[in-house]
Symmetry: C3
């Protein structure tokens, strides 16, 4: 109980855990209250994601660098993955794809932009390691390009296009996973020294980690709870969207992406306020790369088994543009090695522009 | 009269002011002579723009850094703004939009390319402050992206598209103006030191400024004259285009943009010949950013009141591509910190390619 | 005969020259064996291209820097040019255009990516001259943009579009050639010192060059043989494509491009294994720029005289995207000044993605 008390003191976010029982109670008593369920599910996912994050780090810290790095790298976006898997099983491919593109965009524009703004409001100018940042943004740029190539080159409405898109998506997914594994070999193996800095999602050094047994049990238990809450979230999200006047595109790109990455955002913002931009950039860009190189191909391959039909990787053209824009903006911003508050503002303005477009867009344009 | 004599000696361009009475006389005596009116209007706008520029600087220099910077920043593209307002009131939205996109492109490709070429022909290699140039090109890149997002993501031909485009354009304009004001706060306020160099459109230090009273009166008077000449220009430009075999797209993108920015071009070229590339880059990129962040949204918002119908920010796809190409080329060129004549040639080749495409394009493709 | 023995020892590739007589014999005896002819033609072109390369260098080395540089610059892609000319004369414009876009993409993604990977497997990190690499990638970026502008801006399906595209392509070709000549004036003339390093396709210093008389005779003779083999290659390639289940797009973009550049690839890979990345980058990027600025416009202008109809420069949209993607990836990778094996992997993944898309694409989408 000591741990719980300390955690609650350190991360006030955890008080939101009261939403977890609440969402199940409401689901049981009033299954039709979609809007209430949606709000409660969002409130519940945020602290659960924080727990998952912390549990992953605690386990990772105890298992040595290589295995730990691997754990962080594969479980770092566990919340996004669980939510997307739930939507995948329900056959909501438009939502899955929108949340993939949205996560890449939100993590790079919103998470990074807000971190630079919050950091910049406290420090006049902030420096960061240009070489690492360039490597990470390069990795992200190339990952995003590879993910989008089929949407950009292969789009066509002629007969045979569906089969082609599916074959291509499966081949591409294998290729992306190979690139991901090689990337782990590179960053955790042959060139570990260059990445010695803060690993993806790494805890602040002052933060207390949990005993590995507790962490391991929590990791499994919380994942199950997240999966259960995700089901309610995915079911209620489209109803709530209508209620709140949000387009499906906005829900997929913005709402799901922000909810899924809430825990990482907290970590990235905290690091920026401590003038540790290298960590903020690492979390934001690493998390985006992971979506493109790991989460997206895993979803495609799993769709062959758990979804009502196989899912391909054809993105709606607007999504392609939005992701590419994010990439170029981030690449540019991080190549400088220096930041000030207005740089964050500019990233946020681009994000706001895209969000506004999605919000106002007449329904059924995107998917 | 001393001032006038000195000005004429210093800026031989001002002799072109004789075109100002000429254009009004021809307009009165032979209102149908569109081609003559067009040529005279162009010849008249060039020296008027130079006067406006000088008057703005003279007032700015006397009013302290912050107010002066603000004046330069808002009135720096006054000529473009007045011409665009005239076209806006006439409901010629295609011309207005083409001149916005054209000004961004012309200022960054032609103005900068020619400055680098002219400077490079005199000096073997020219150095400039990479950090400032990177910041300015980043600002421009992000501003242009924000301006173009609706055209890139939201385009659709379905019902509701018009209302959507208009709502989005108004929301976006407010957002761009907020970004602009925050940018001024940044460059004139919190981070003034970093921008200590030559301000946008700043006069050479040797140049004589005018007494503030004369400058203030001239500022108002010349603006009125520019507005009157613009009316003749806008009326005659389409007739002249047909006469000279130019497509409407070419007129909007190239002719209007060059005429509107003639005064700034002179200043940028002069600075490059004095090996002061920082100033040339500042003028070219600053002026482009200002079009995207200030002139474009102001025109959208004013269209609600002074135009026959509201104007949205949907650009013709070719314009989107041309502006993005300009951005990437400029971003690349300015990230180097060094230039030689061939770099200017390359920018001019891209500009010439775009201009040639617009010139040869069958009419009614673009708007 | 001494020379021949030494050459065969130094370049085992030359044993493939036995394919040269073989291809002519099969063509004579069994003209319908398209697949066999295709394989033999590929095997024959590879060593012939190596000979051409070496002969060009040998002549260039004897004729002084300026003329030698010019020779290397114009004859460096002689194999590609001869293959493309053969296809042009046969009126196979889709193949010609695909091979232009494919060569730019293959040289920058595959040649460079493989060089970085091979070099990186031997050396932990490799350094290269950032300034030169940036200049070269900038040149390539701007050349590719200029080449693609008409496809990006001017596309339209309305009446008059064909005449417009042709006029534009001819004007653009003249412009590109002017830019190319000015570029030679820059790199071989006014700013020679900056390019003092390894010239495009330069031989290793240890390599033995040939006497100029032999080299000159070989240059002419081998070009004729390449032209003859190209004819068989171009004739058989489409049949072989069907036989091997390859789409026409895949053949044009990947097969022709790799065959045409085989000799340069060997040189680029060899240099990377000797930790001379500057040379690898110079070969890969120089060769790509040359395709865009020299080979492509020459083909357009020659099509007016030797092809059944004039060829324009409108590329299939997928080709435009693929080339632009290659440019951004390469620009990013080379702006760093440092490389490790995973950087090569990333370029190869993007290349594999594009190749896979082209391979799986339903026929008749691209051209």
């Amino acid at each position: 109980m000591n741990i719980i008390a300390r955690e609650l003191r350190e991360s006030p976010l955890l008080w939101l855990l009261v939403a977890v029982p609440a969402v199940f109670i409401v689901e049981h008593l009033a299954p039709g209250r979609h809007t209430a369920l949606f709000v409660l599910a969002v409130l519940a996912i945020v602290p659960l994601a924080a727990l998952l994050s912390k549990a992953t780090e605690s386990v990772a810290a105890k298992t040595g660098d290589a295995v730990g790095g691997l754990l962080n790298a594969t479980l770092g976006n566990l919340t996004e993955l669980v939510i997307a898997l739930t939507a995948l099983r329900a056959g909501m491919f438009d939502l899955v794809k929108a949340s993939i593109a949205g996560a890449i965009m939100t993590n790079s524009l919103f998470m990074l932009g807000m971190a630079l703004l919050l950091g910049g409001l406290k420090y006049r100018t902030q420096e960061f390691n240009r070489a690492t940042a360039r490597f990470q943004s390069g990795l992200l740029l190339l990952a995003a390009i590879a993910l989008l190539v089929p949407s950009m080159i292969g789009s066509s409405n002629r007969p045979g296009a569906d089969a082609f898109a599916l074959d291509l998506s499966i081949g591409l997914s294998v290729l992306l996973l190979v690139a991901y594994v090689l990337g782990l070999l590179f960053s955790l193996g042959t060139h570990k020294a260059e990445f010695a800095g803060p690993a993806h999602g790494a805890a602040d050094e002052e933060e207390h980690l949990w005993p590995v047994a507790i962490a391991g049990v929590l990791l499994v238990a919380v994942t199950v709870v997240v999966a259960l809450v995700s089901e309610i979230f995915v079911e209620s999200v489209q109803y709530a969207a209508i209620e709140f006047g949000m387009t499906p595109a906005f829900v997929g790109f913005i709402v799901v992406a922000i909810v899924g990455a809430a825990a990482e955002m907290m970590a990235a913002f905290r690091a920026a306020r401590k003038n540790r931009l290298d960590m903020s950039i690492g979390i934001a860009l690493g998390s985006s790369s992971q979506i493109a190189l790991f989460v997206a191909p895993v979803l495609v391959l799993l769709s062959l088994f758990i979804a009502p039909a196989p899912m391909d990787l054809r993105f709606w053209p607007g999504a392609v543009v939005a992701v590419l824009i994010s990439m170029f903006a981030v690449t540019f911003v991080t190549s400088n090695g220096r930041s000030a508050w207005y740089v964050g503002v500019l990233l946020l303005v681009i994000y706001a522009t895209i969000a506004m477009t999605l919000y106002l867009m007449p329904p059924s344009t995107a998917g």
